[in-house]
Amino acid sequence: MSDIILELKNITKIFPGTKALDNVSFQLKRGEIHALMGENGAGKSTFIKVITGVHRPEQGEMFLGCSKVTLQGPKDAQKYGIAAIYQHVTCYPDLNVAENIFIGHEIRHKLGRLNWKEMYRISDELLQSLGINFNSRTQMGTLSVAQQQIVEIAKALSMKAKIIIMDEPTAALTKRESEELYRVTEQLRDNEGASIIFISHRFEDMYRLASRVTVFRDSQYIGNWELDKVSKDDLIKAMVGREVSSLYPKAKTDIGESVLELENLTRTGYFSGISFSVRKGEILGLTGLVGAGRTEVCESLFGIHKADSGKIIFAGNEVTIENPRTAMDLGIGYLPEDRQLQGLILDWGIDKNITLPNLDQFSNGVWLNDQKELEIAEDMFKKVLIKAQSVQATASSLSGGNQQKVVVAKLLTTDLKVIILDEPTKGVDVGAKYAIHKIMSDLASRGYAVLMVSSEMPEVLGMCDRIIVMKEGKISDTMDIADATQEKILEAAMVKSVKDRQ
C-alpha cells in the first residue's frame, strides 16, 4: 500500500475571465492532517471543488492510492470516499439532522421506501461517537453553526469517507467551539483512520492540528513543508510573496476633538451599552472575534439597522440616523465588509460604481451629466490608483484589491468627516493591502476620523491609534496603541470563553 492516499498533478481550472488554478500539484499522506494555506483568492476553494468533483479541471490528473481517477461529478467523489465540509455550511436548514446526514446516500427498505428507523439510529450513533448530544430529529436550522459543522462531519463519517476536507471550519466558531472541532478532527484521524485536508487562515489551527502544510498563492502551488521544520515568518512570506513588515505605512497625526460619540448604544440581541468616541485625525480600531457585534455597531451608525436605544452625537449634536442617506449627508461613510455583495455593482463599469452614492453631485438637478461624471470618476480612478484597462472596465473584471479600491473611491466622492471601514483588506492581495493602508493613513492625516473594524491582529496593531475590543456584544477593553499587544487584545476578545472552558 502506498503512503500517498491522494495525489493531484498539474491541475488547471479556468473560469471565464480568470485562471482559478494554474498547474497546481498536491499530495496527501495516509492518516495525516494536512494544512492547506493561502490568501483568499489563492485558489484553495476551487482546488477543493476539483477534488470533490464539483468542478472538472481543464488539465491535470488525479490519483487515489496508485490508480488514476477521473471524477464525473460529486457522486463519484463520494463513491471514492472523499467528503468535504465547506466554508459556508452547506446544510439544508429545512430538513432534520438525520436527513442532512443521509441526503444523497439514503438508507432504504427493499422496495425503495426510506428506512427512517435505521437512519435515525445510525445518526444518533454517529453523533454520540462524536461526543455530541442532540437528537437526530432536530431541525438543522435550529442548530448553531458549530453544531451544524459537527453534523457535516457525521455526514462524512456516514459515507465512510477516508479523505475528509475541511474548508475553513473554524472561521465562524468561538474559541471553545474550535477546541471541540479540534478534538473531533483528531478523533477522525486516530479512530476512523481518515486523512484530512484542513484549510484555515488561523495559524493557531494549523499548529494545533496539522503535521504538514501546503501553500498556494495566486492560483499557483508554492510549496509544501513539514510543520516542525518551517517558521511562521517563512510561511507568511510564502503566502504573500514578500516581507510583510512594510505593510503598515502609518503616519503620525495630530489628533483633534471628538467628531462622533456613542452613548450606551444598544440593539437588542446584537450589542448593548456601547460607548466610545472617534476623534479627528485618529484611526480607531474595533476588533474582537467574528460575531462579537462589531459590524452591527457600524451598521447602526450608518443607518442600516437602527439601534434600539442610546445616543449618537455627531459634531456636538445628538442625531438620529434613519438610513444610509442621512448618515452620508451628515458626513459618515461606511465601507461594508462584503465588497461584492454590499459594495459594488459587478456588471457595471468602475465609473458608474464610483459615482453611484453621489449622483446628485454630478448631475444638473435630476439629469445625469455624462461628461462631468466621467471626469470625476477618472479623477478618483487616478487618486486611489486602480489598476484596470480603463475607467469603464466592469468591476467584475478587477482583482479583489482593485475592487476594494473602487469601493474606497465611492466613499471619497462624498464630503465626509467620519469614515468607517469594515475589514477593509479582507481577501485583497498584498500590494492592494498596502495601498489601502496608505489611503487610510492619508485620510487620517487630512483630518478625517477613521473607525476600522478588523480581525487581523497585525493590521490593528500596525494602523490604529487606539483599539477597542468587543466581546459578545459589549466592549470588553479599550487600549492605547502604546499599551496594546497581541496577547492583551486576544485576552479581551476571548476572556469569557476561556473561563468557560476551565
Binding site: P74, C91, Y92, I103, G104, L114, T142, Y270, F271, S272
Partner: protein, 333 residues
C-alpha cells in the same frame, strides 16, 4: 447568522401556522353554523369537499413546484388543454373507455409539464416566464384543437361524466381521487428518496448539487408532476361541469397558488407540508362555498379571498418578526 436565525423561527412557526389555520377554519365553521344550521350537514360537507377536491389536488403539485423555488402559471391552461383533448375524444369516439381517455388527458398534461421543467432546468429560464409562455401556448393550442367550439353536455358520454360525478361507497369520486392523491403525495414526500431530495433541492440548491443530487432532474420531475395533476384535474373539470371550452378554468392558477400560500408554503422554497396545503385548500373552499349559506352575495367572494390571503401572509410576517425579537431578547446581550 441572521439568515439562520430566520430559518430557526420558520421552523417554530410551522407548527403554529397549521394550528392557527385549523383554529381559523373551526371558528369560521362555528360562525357559519350559528347563522345557518344547514352548514354542517352531511350533504353540505360532501358538496364542500367535492368543490374543493380539484383545488386541493392541484395544490399538491404547486407545493412541490414552490418547494423548488419555482412557480407554475400554466396549470389552468394545461387543464383546459388536457381536458379539451379528452373531451374531443369523448365526443368523436364515445366508445373508448373513459379511463383510457383520462390517461390520454394525463399524458398530455404531463408532457406540457415536462416541457416546462426542461425550459426551466436546462434552458435556465425563470419559472415565472417559462410557464407564462407555456400558458399562452397551451391556451392557444386549446382553441386550435377545439376549432373554437365548445364540447357540450350532450356530447359527453355518461361514463365520462361519472368519473367526476359518480360515487363509490357513497362518496363522490372527486373526493376519493383527492384522498388518493394526498395519500400518495404524503408517502412520496416523506418516505421516498426522491421526495426528500426535492425538498433538499429547494432548501439549498447549491449544496444539493454538491451532495450529488441531480437538481435539474428534480426540477423536471416536479413540473412533470404538476403537469400530470393538471391533466388529471383538467379531465375531471370537464367531466364535472360537462362542458369544455377553450377558456375553461381561466385564472385558476392564482387560486391554487393562493391556497398554497394560505397553507404555509414558502415562496422562497424548501418548506411546505401536505397537511398545510390540505388545510389551505379547505379554507379556500369554505370561503367559496359558505357565502350563499350566510346570505352574503357571492360577488363578495373574490374580495374576501384576496383580503384573507393578504392578511394571512402579513400576519405570518408579523408573527415571525415577533418571534425573532423574542429570540434576540433571550440572547443574553
Amino acid at each position: 447568522m441572521e439568515k439562520l436565525l430566520k430559518k430557526k423561527n420558520n421552523i417554530q412557526l410551522d407548527q403554529f401556522r397549521e394550528l392557527g389555520l385549523l383554529l381559523f377554519i373551526i371558528i369560521i365553521s362555528i360562525m357559519v353554523q350559528i347563522r345557518n344550521p344547514s352548514f354542517l350537514t352531511g350533504e353540505n360537507i360532501n358538496d364542500l369537499l367535492k368543490n374543493t377536491a380539484i383545488l386541493s389536488i392541484l395544490s399538491v403539485g404547486m407545493m412541490l413546484v414552490l418547494v423548488t423555488r419555482g412557480i407554475d402559471l400554466s396549470i389552468a391552461a394545461n387543464m383546459a388543454f388536457s381536458g379539451m383533448l379528452a373531451s374531443i375524444i369523448v365526443r368523436d369516439f364515445p366508445q373508448i373507455h373513459p379511463v383510457l381517455i383520462m390517461l390520454i388527458g394525463i399524458s398530455a398534461g404531463t408532457l406540457s409539464g415536462f416541457i416546462n421543467g426542461l425550459l426551466i432546468s436546462k434552458g435556465k429560464i425563470l419559472p415565472i416566464i417559462a410557464t407564462l409562455g407555456m400558458m399562452y401556448v397551451l391556451r392557444g393550442s386549446t382553441f386550435l384543437i377545439s376549432k373554437g367550439q365548445w364540447v357540450s353536455a350532450y356530447q359527453f358520454t355518461d361514463g365520462f361524466k361519472k368519473m367526476a360525478t359518480g360515487t363509490n361507497w357513497g362518496i363522490n369520486n372527486l373526493i376519493l381521487i383527492a384522498v388518493a392523491v394526498y395519500a400518495l403525495a404524503y408517502y412520496f414526500i416523506n418516505h421516498t428518496r426522491t421526495g426528500r431530495r426535492i425538498y433538499a433541492t429547494g432548501s439549498n440548491p447549491d449544496s444539493a448539487k454538491i451532495s450529488g443530487i441531480n437538481t435539474d432532474r428534480m426540477v423536471i420531475l416536479v413540473y412533470s408532476i404538476m403537469g400530470m395533476l393538471s391533466g388529471l384535474t383538467g379531465v375531471l373539470w370537464m367531466a364535472r361541469f360537462a362542458s369544455a371550452q377553450s377558456d375553461s378554468a381561466m385564472g385558476y392558477e392564482m387560486n391554487v397558488i393562493a391556497a398554497c400560500v394560505l397553507g404555509g408554503v414558502s415562496m422562497s422554497g424548501g418548506s411546505g407540508k401536505v397537511g398545510g396545503i390540505l388545510l389551505g385548500s379547505l379554507l379556500f373552499g369554505i370561503l367559496n362555498n359558505t357565502l350563499p349559506l350566510i346570505n352574503v352575495s357571492p360577488f363578495w367572494q373574490n374580495a374576501i379571498q384576496g383580503a384573507v390571503i393578504l392578511l394571512a401572509v402579513i400576519a405570518n410576517v408579523l408573527a415571525k418578526r415577533g418571534m425573532t425579537k423574542r429570540n434576540l431578547n433571550r440572547r443574553d446581550r
